[in-house]
Amino acid sequence: MIPGANSLQTQLGTQLWQLVSPSLRHCWDGECAYYQLASGDTHLLSEEAVRLLELLQGRPRNVGELAASLSEMYSQPPEPSQMDLHVIALLDDLAKARLVECSPA
């Protein structure tokens, strides 16, 4: 169980995740250099995290929709409930890096 996952899951019912600002990226072998245009910060992210950021640009309605889209990256995707938790954990990491933020729905 991911600590804090329950509270985040609750939040996701009433809040939307969105990108903090547009960005540039460049990927090599599963890792991506990610440059945030507004802040000038540079991050090293997994390709999976970058895919999640791309998916957020499509304004998904909920975490389930994000998880379903992210599952397409895998040849053997995890169970949907596991994938939801995984997405929540990824979003949490990205929020700590100030790459995404929550806003009221």
Binding site: L24, W28, E31, A33, L37
Partner: protein
Amino acid sequence: MQPGLTLSQIPEQQIKQRLKSGLALRTGPFAVLIRSTLPSVAEGVATTYADFPLADETDFIDFHVTLAPPHPVRNWIRPQVQFYFDAHPPFTPLPKAQAYPLLEWGLNWCVSTQAHRYLILHAAVLEMNGYALIMPGEPGSGKSTLTAALCNRGWRLLSDEMTIIDPQSGLIQPLPRPVSLKNQAINIISQYLPGATLTPPVHDTLKGTVSLMKPPGEAVARMGETAIPRWVVFPKYRADGNLAFTAMSRGQAFLELARNAFNYSILGELGFHTLTRLMSISNARRFEYGGDLDRAVEAFASLAAEP
């Protein structure tokens, strides 16, 4: 002034005279005008810049620098020296005995804070067969010791301190200047390269004891020849360490280079594109070595021979 004239073609007494009014030298893509009446500066410049061309009267001078006492009285009582860039002192004064190292530190400061038409990494860089080896390194990593050894064993010195990348072409612009050796590295290189020319050690600086090694003549003669990035190697000296290269991801190397850059954040988007382009055509490794310079030189020769 005659075009193509090098400093070694001028008698030392004349160098001292010219330094009083301003001696203009070319180093890599820059021209620098140095003024000083201090004998140690004249001796250091005459020794380590002997092969460098004088700038001619039509050259644009990038940096006007002066080394002088901060106050006339400081020539005599607890003598000090101040570095001036365009008549402004960016640093606090240092003891007069540190005048020549201060010139080198000051010139590094000029390039790293002013030359933003380039992306500048805090890294040594050498060239072989047209390809560049970039070596970032923390103090104590043995970067300058390795650089001094390699540039006398088949590699061309592009810079001991700063890797200068042209964002337009992605190529590395040489900036060969004296190699800064510190503490034990001075003895190690004196023994390893008995023919090398080093300035007298200056003790008790902020970096410990410092000596500057004259760059090889070939590095100066070819300072207009750019190089294509190919290897990024992070050296680490460990007294009891075995010699070994270990693989490193491009992403991790990118991040460490960005942190090592002087002006990555100033260049913003351009810095990001320049560095990702560099990493896309380079491979990255860590290199640990225990001070056996012959074996280290062999290891880098093998690296250069890889297809």
